[in-house]
Amino acid sequence: MIARATLLSFGLWIVLLVFVRVAVIPPETCGIESEERIAESAVAAAAWMTRNQNVDGTYVYLYYNESDTIPNAYNEVRHAGVTMSLYQAAGRLSDREALATADDALAWMEENLVRHDDWAALALDGRSNRPPLGASALMVIAMAERRLATADTQYDDLMREVGRYLTALQRDDGGFYVSWQIDADAPDTVGTSRFYPGEALWALALLHEAFPGEGWDVHARDALHFITTQRDDVEDVDFPPLADQWTAYGLAEMVEWGLTDQQIDYARKLAGRFGILVRTASQREGSWYGSLLRGEDARASGVGTWTEGLAGLWRVAAYDDRLADIKDKTEERLHCISGILADRQFDAEEAADYDTPGLVEGAWFHEGETRMDDQQHAFSGITYALDALAEHQMREPEETLE
């Protein structure tokens, strides 16, 4: 005999468990499992970026597949970012077409440099009086990736020259002004950016890797100290740490230099931040009510940055024993999120239904729109996720392109 009260209690528990299943833990689904197919997705993304370059070295910035239109807009920060990814494709996939395309894009950046004092900075025509820090940081990273992919040193002086713009903007606390106001010959002390410090951090770390002994590491360490102790407060981040993949790249570059316990702790929290974003994305995929409760899909540029961030932190975990406990979980999440990305990408068959298949195949669309950095971040994320899954700890390619 079971008391009525006990039966009632069981009934209420069942109701609660059903609620928990639906509202708290919808199933997590990770798209494509095959690493081979995920790798094909990266190749297709690189092909999109290579195929959709304009004759002047810029890329197709935005494209709407339903109306088959390319709006007139551009952004030099994203131009440098896409070029960086193409150099990664050159190094990782031995993709000579990607190298040639990126070189044309680099030539465009050289034409759009602003020179002042002893530095050079990348800026579009309309912004040449206030070159944004992020564009120059990503240009340095692109050139560093080219150097890693080809072992060619022809851009070394330019790397240093643009690098000096980053150090000119660095404040005493390790943070950065967002631009130099050339007509006033003074930094912009009002503007702030959430992501520029991370971009500058990674660029400075790569400058030290390329040119050890020149003092770039001091700037990188100051930048990392600022980011891990103050940036999230300064930028009023609601749920710190900021999901900033650039900082993850920087940490991955600097882990061999030795990180403090506080920086390792920050890396752990950052991995957790990316981890929950991935889990939430996979819950959105898993069921119709998952998407209802978790909101709309993020665009590929966002999902790609989580993948890049986790891949960078995987390198930290693989190198530093203090994070060894998160390495396997990080690999699980990387496999999951790169599978989701690969699954969402438009393939040749789907692209054939549109007016200009070459602008659709290999791209990710969000509400009918793709932006060039969707392909950039998804490509870089998948590429380094596959490195992690293959236990490939070093970021540079095993062989350089001649």
Partner: protein
């Protein structure tokens, strides 16, 4: 070892032995003359609950796989599942009402299940098994069950010495401890990779 102890505290909280003492004594008696029957009831209760919780530890991976849920996400679910027990303890100081023990085998239903091995303790055991690994979670379950069993055995003495009111207060404190454990679990679920 620290992780095992931390997990044991969490499991012990969800077993909430102080909240179970009134129901246990209602079944087995609280006088010195009832010690034999109390010992027998306790042994059956504790062994059954231990078996159920250890099975939960072993089945964690297939269970989470069946649900298609990562251990990290499940921690949030476990925290929610613990809420009703915490509310009941905070409200009444008891995890089982005296009317619930009128069954033919009270050591099984409701003392072992759901008294000790209920949704809250099962939830935390699955969550800890995913977080700390099966061996550590199993060790934590054994430590927590032994401690809970000892408290239940001493229940008659405690009630005579401290009085029913004090036992009720300790039961309410158990509810507060469950809230703390649930919050830690949810936060860890959010912060984990």
């Amino acid at each position: 070892m620290t992780e095992i102890l931390r997990a044991a505290v969490g499991v012990f909280a969800t077993l909430a032995p102080f909240g179970l003492i009134p129901a246990f004594l209602a079944v087995s008696g609280n006088g010195r003359e009832d010690e034999d029957s109390r010992g027998r009831t306790l042994l059956l209760t504790v062994i059954t609950a231990l078996a159920v919780l250890l099975v939960a530890v072993v089945l964690t991976d297939p269970f989470l796989g069946f649900l298609d849920v990562s251990g990290e996400s499940f921690q949030g679910a476990a925290a929610v599942i613990m809420a009703p027990l915490a509310i009941r303890l905070l409200w009444s100081g008891r995890s089982l009402g005296l009317s619930e023990v009128a069954t033919s085998r009270p050591w099984l239903l409701p003392l072992a299940i759901p008294g000790l091995a209920g949704p809250a303790s099962l939830g935390i055991v699955v969550a800890y098994s995913g977080r700390y690994g099966e061996t550590d979670a199993a060790a934590a379950v054994v430590i927590a069950i032994v401690a809970a069993g000892a408290l239940l055995y001493a229940g008659g003495f405690l009630q005579r010495t401290l009085g029913e009111r004090a036992i009720g207060v300790l039961g309410r404190l158990s509810g507060a401890l469950i809230v703390a454990v649930a919050i830690e679990l949810a936060v860890n679920g959010v912060r984990s990779v």
